[in-house]
Symmetry: none
Subunit: 233 residues, 2 copies
DNA sequence: TGAAGTTGTGATAAAGTTGTGACAAAGGGG
DNA sequence: CCCCTTTGTCACAACTTTATCACAACTTCA
């Protein structure tokens, strides 16, 4: 597997390269837009890690432009590196053909997780890895949930597992025992733990956690995600 | 009912098979992708339990691929088995048509619960199951009863069990003992408790609880739901 | 007519659930 | 090694559900 890392920050580029090499990738680097395009054509990488903030060279070639140019000729997976503040960067980046993004700063662990997720996804074709239920969107890979057009909130492993399972069964009630079994496996889990988990999930995704819109309680029975809460956008 | 269990782990496959057989299923097994597809075509199972991690055979046939191939030609319910560690993949499995999934390890109870839930769900479509009797509608899952076009009222566990039982036997008289046994189980319950229960249920669903329209009393014998109260809407 | 039994009703006690907050343990990353 | 996130544990108040009791009205039957 060959990877191309494009970043003008030498330290970051080296860190990314090192991480990917440790995962068995053959890595090449580029510091600016022009050499990035050259490396891409010469090396034919299987995946590209691309920082969107590149130095202004004489012909202005920022990350988005490179991404677009590459995408015009190839379907090679591209992961964008962006800074946390610019939420717009992300939507724009995805629009011009990027497959995924990583917010700086990030951990090596995150990097390999994203890279492998993207490779998995692209290998399987154009199937999105997100679940939908009304206004709720869950990206299980990233463990992020979004409510309508709001900011995505990141979920913990258990929260994600719970929400994913409820979304799969949206409109149906899952009993307390079923949820405990599914989330903690046989022998683990308890009513208390489930109660807390639901509570934490609600506090993250519900507009007003004290009067839930998405997760409904059926006393004595269990919980369920409302079918199509807020209507399909 | 016929079930097909696909898993290369013989021990697990046998455990699953045993559990399902005890539930009255006729079970066939397959250890790899190719034989899975063959068994599927030959046996025409009503449900498939499919491990996603199958051994790499010469034509790579993992669980997802099998699932997709089957789904291209059939709507037979499919439940995926996957290990807790790589549950990231599971969304993909659901996207290619699986109906549900179970994380390994799991308990037999969980397996049975999921299998039956999936069969129930696919049998009746995406809407939760409701009972009808004249103008009365009962959503046992949600424990909600509706009378005509009125607002649904939520029922307690016992109220729901009582109404469900009466609706299943609409038009028939159920003796007091029969009702007590069914609601509280053998040994539990009493005449008084049943009287109170009927009273509370009436106060919730009857337009005028002092002159009941739905639940009739047959003095000395028991209670019954009128066959078609208010006419079929 | 009167006694026995049953039903509907109301009040109230007992038991169980849920949501909540605070805090301890565990585990990973810098 | 310390800090932070995640997860598990506990106790509590508010509330709902269920059980229990008492009593009047009514029916049945001798």
């Amino acid at each position: 597997m060959k990877a191309l890392v494009v970043d003008d920050d030498r330290v970051l580029a080296d860190l990314v390269s090192f991480t990917l090499r440790r995962e068995g990738f053959q890595v090449s680097q580029a510091q600016d837009g022009e050499s990035a395009l050259r490396r891409w054509m010469e090396d034919q990488p299987d995946i590209i890690i691309l920082d969107v903030n590149l130095p202004k060279t004489s012909p202005p070639l920022d990350g988005f432009t490179i991404c677009r140019k590459i995408r015009e000729q190839s379907d090679v997976p591209i992961i964008l590196l962006t800074v946390r503040e610019d939420e717009d960067d992300i939507v724009y980046g995805l629009k011009v053909g990027a497959d995924d993004y990583i917010l700086k700063p990030f951990s090596p662990r995150q990097l390999v997780a994203r890279v492998q997720a993207v490779l998995r996804r692209t290998a399987r074709g154009p199937i999105s890895s997100t679940l939908q239920a009304g206004k709720l969107t869950l990206d299980a890979d990233r463990r992020e949930a979004r409510c309508g057009e709001q900011e995505p909130v990141s979920l913990t492993a258990l929260e994600c597992r719970l929400l994913e399972y409820m979304m799969l069964h949206a409109g149906h009630i899952l009993t307390i025992q079923e949820l405990i079994d599914h989330i903690w496996g046989p022998g683990g889990g308890s009513r208390d733990m489930l109660r807390q988990l639901v509570r934490r999930l609600r506090s993250k995704i519900e507009p007003d956690p004290s009067s839930p819109v998405f997760i409904e309680t059926i006393p004595g029975r269990g919980y369920g995600l409302k079918r199509d809460p807020g209507g399909t956008p």
